[in-house]
């Protein structure tokens, strides 16, 4: 009996050791980035490495953070992330609801269309989309960016899978009570699929917040850039060698903070959303 307890104890310890080391490896670049903001350029490059900075000059770091003027980029990214994702999910939820709960003749074919689009690489459409946006006078505008990101096939897919698992009787009962489709979506379907909605919301947010290629094609004026383009701007303007690495690390850290905060808030729903509603049996 004694040896059995010792054995499980040993097992737990080994497991924590292994998973802890793996986590450290994965967190290390992020940790280095955050701590790099507090270091001087020489400290970042000195060997042997020191993980912790020599001094914690919080006021200096605060002043540099104000000096590099990252605020507008973060604001734009948050705007596109929050407003854009909310609109995307609304459209996707309406579409998925109609696909699943309203009977119609063309649903099967429509779903195939969506399925095929799901597999398409979005980049293939960039040139004509650019031309179309130019025609609509929406180039170099955040509205144009959000509008062009509005149709998320992934969101439709994910929500549909989650809706399909619902018991149809709830919908029928609500219909008996004379609820409109919009009311059913709002008061029955949404609460019952909350993990799926939150998961899709978080994933769309991350995608919109940090997207790089498409925004850098259509946005040109400096005050409209998102964080990724802002960082890139910062990276090239001083040249790779004369670059102030500690400022770059600080800028990178600032862009990551909003995402980490939002994920920490939605984390509880998120993992269940992926592991349970991932659209797989």
């Amino acid at each position: 009996m004694q040896s059995h307890i010792l054995k499980t104890w040993f097992f737990h310890l080994t497991r924590h050791f292994i998973m802890g080391s793996i986590s450290f490896i994965f967190l290390f670049p992020l940790l280095w980035m955050v701590l790099g903001g507090f270091k001087t350029n020489n400290e970042i490059w000195q060997q042997p490495y020191r993980l912790l900075p020599g001094n914690w000059h919080f006021t200096d770091v605060f002043n540099t953070a104000r000096g590099i003027q990252f605020g507008p980029y973060i604001f734009n990214s948050l705007l596109v992330g929050i407003v854009g994702s909310a609109a995307t999910i609304l459209c996707a939820a309406l579409f998925a609801y109609a696909l699943v709960f309203v009977k119609g003749r063309f649903h099967h074919r429509l779903f195939w269309l969506v399925l095929v689009t799901y597999m398409l690489p979005s980049a293939v459409t960039y040139v004509p989309s650019y031309v179309l946006l130019a025609r609509m006078n929406l180039l170099d505008s955040l509205t144009g960016l959000m509008f062009s990101n509005l149709a998320s096939v992934f969101a439709v897919f994910f929500l549909r899978q989650s809706f399909l698992k619902m018991n149809y009787e709830y919908i029928e009962a609500a219909q008996m009570d004379g609820a409109s489709h919009l009311a059913i979506l709002r008061h029955v379907v949404y609460p019952m699929n909350k993990p799926a909605f939150i998961t899709v919301g978080l994933l769309t947010f991350v995608q919109n917040y940090s997207s790089y290629m498409w925004p850098s094609i259509i946005l040109s004026s400096r005050e409209k850039l998102l964080v990724s383009q802002g960082l890139r701007q910062f990276f090239i303007q001083e040249g790779a060698y004369g670059m102030n690495w500690s400022e770059v690390m600080l800028g990178s850290t600032l862009t990551v903070i909003p995402i980490l905060v939002i994920f920490a808030l939605g984390q509880r729903w998120f993992t269940t959303g992926i592991t349970e509603d991932s659209g797989l049996k």
Binding site: R15, G20, T125, V206, M213, F235, V256, I259, L260, L280
Partner: protein, 324 residues
């Protein structure tokens, strides 16, 4: 919605006035027709907000790309001529394209195989919840949520040949230092390692879910029959999670064919074109050289590549994926 309510209000009021019996029945008919139309159009009204952007930014551009790939359009001039298959001929015979195809395949397979194997192994470490498991999961997943551009910068420090962390670790383990992103031999390896680090958490989360859904009773029965741990993994776990493997393989393939961010930040397709993938080639030709014809020919190749992959994997999945 509001219109509906307004109309039913007015039609409720009309039968009260006796004088307009004929008119009221007409209105009744109209009302019925309207309600009927309203119900029928529910599907339409629910689908239009999604279908409009889907049409404008997916379906039309797709047709557009296809058409442009047969022209010599250069974006600036208003003229465009039909050149037949010239662009395709030109693209297929160019050295840059062949190299880009090779790079794309190398990158996709390299990241995918490793990500799936690593993701599965790490997911095994999370069998049944224990204290701290959620923290570890989130730590491994965190690179996935951070913007590629932000972490690419830290990784360009790691890969720095003279003072970077990668060479520091290599030399302290007794290996020769590498040039990493500065040499055409190792640049792709650097990008692949970065991409694995960034994406493996996503794969792992899916595997954790899949492993949880394997019925525990199967393991117990196999255990009683004297099945070894390896055999249990080989003959129970692997077949039962194969739908997840299949799904992840396709989705990861499609995303890795579209890799762009880290290449743009870390190598710009270099050195010597060694990290130029198909999508990067497309970007260079379309938005740097404004050769829209050849660029869209490359786009069509990417499209066909992904379609072939999807169809192929569907065929394969019928043979070895077990859907219960």
């Amino acid at each position: 919605m509001d219109k509906h309510i307004a109309l039913s209000d007015s039609s409720l009021r009309t039968p009260d006035s006796e004088s307009t019996t004929a008119g009221s029945s007409q209105i009744q008919d109209l009302r019925k027709m309207f309600i009927c139309w309203w119900h029928r159009s529910t599907v339409l009204r629910f689908m239009i907000p999604f279908m409009i952007p889907l049409t404008i930014f997916w379906i039309l551009p797709l047709i557009g790309s296809f058409l442009i790939s047969f022209t010599d359009w250069n974006y600036i001039s208003p003229r465009m001529n039909f050149v037949g298959l010239n662009n395709y001929f030109h693209v297929f015979t160019s050295h840059g394209f062949q190299r880009a195809v090779r790079n794309t395949i190398l990158f996709s397979l390299g990241t995918n195989m490793t990500t799936i194997a690593l993701g599965l192994v790490m997911a095994m470490g999370f069998q049944n919840h224990y204290r701290g498991s959620r923290f570890y999961q989130m730590a491994i997943f965190s690179p996935w949520v951070t913007p590629a551009v932000a972490v690419s910068m830290v990784w360009s420090w790691i890969y720095q040949p003279e003072r970077g962390l990668a060479n520091y670790l290599l030399t302290s383990l007794g290996f020769a230092p590498l040039q990493w992103l500065h040499s055409s031999d190792t640049a792709m390896l650097g990008i692949v390692i970065f991409t694995i680090w960034k994406t493996v958490g996503w794969t792992m989360l899916f595997y954790i879910g899949a492993l949880e859904r394997v019925p525990q009773s199967l393991y117990e029965a196999a255990h009683l029959d004297g099945c070894s741990a390896w055999n249990r993994f080989r003959y129970i776990t692997l077949p039962l999670i194969s739908p997840t493997t299949f799904f992840l393989f396709i989705v990861n393939m499609i995303t890795s064919i579209q890799v762009y961010d880290q290449i743009q930040i870390m190598t710009q397709g270099g050195p010597g074109g060694s990290t130029t993938t198909l999508l990067y080639l497309y970007y260079q030709q379309a938005f740097q050289n404004f050769q829209m014809g050849p660029a869209n020919a490359v786009a069509m190749v990417i499209l066909v590549l992904i379609l072939v992959l999807s169809i192929l994997s569907m065929k394969i999945s019928k043979r070895w994926v077990h859907y219960d």
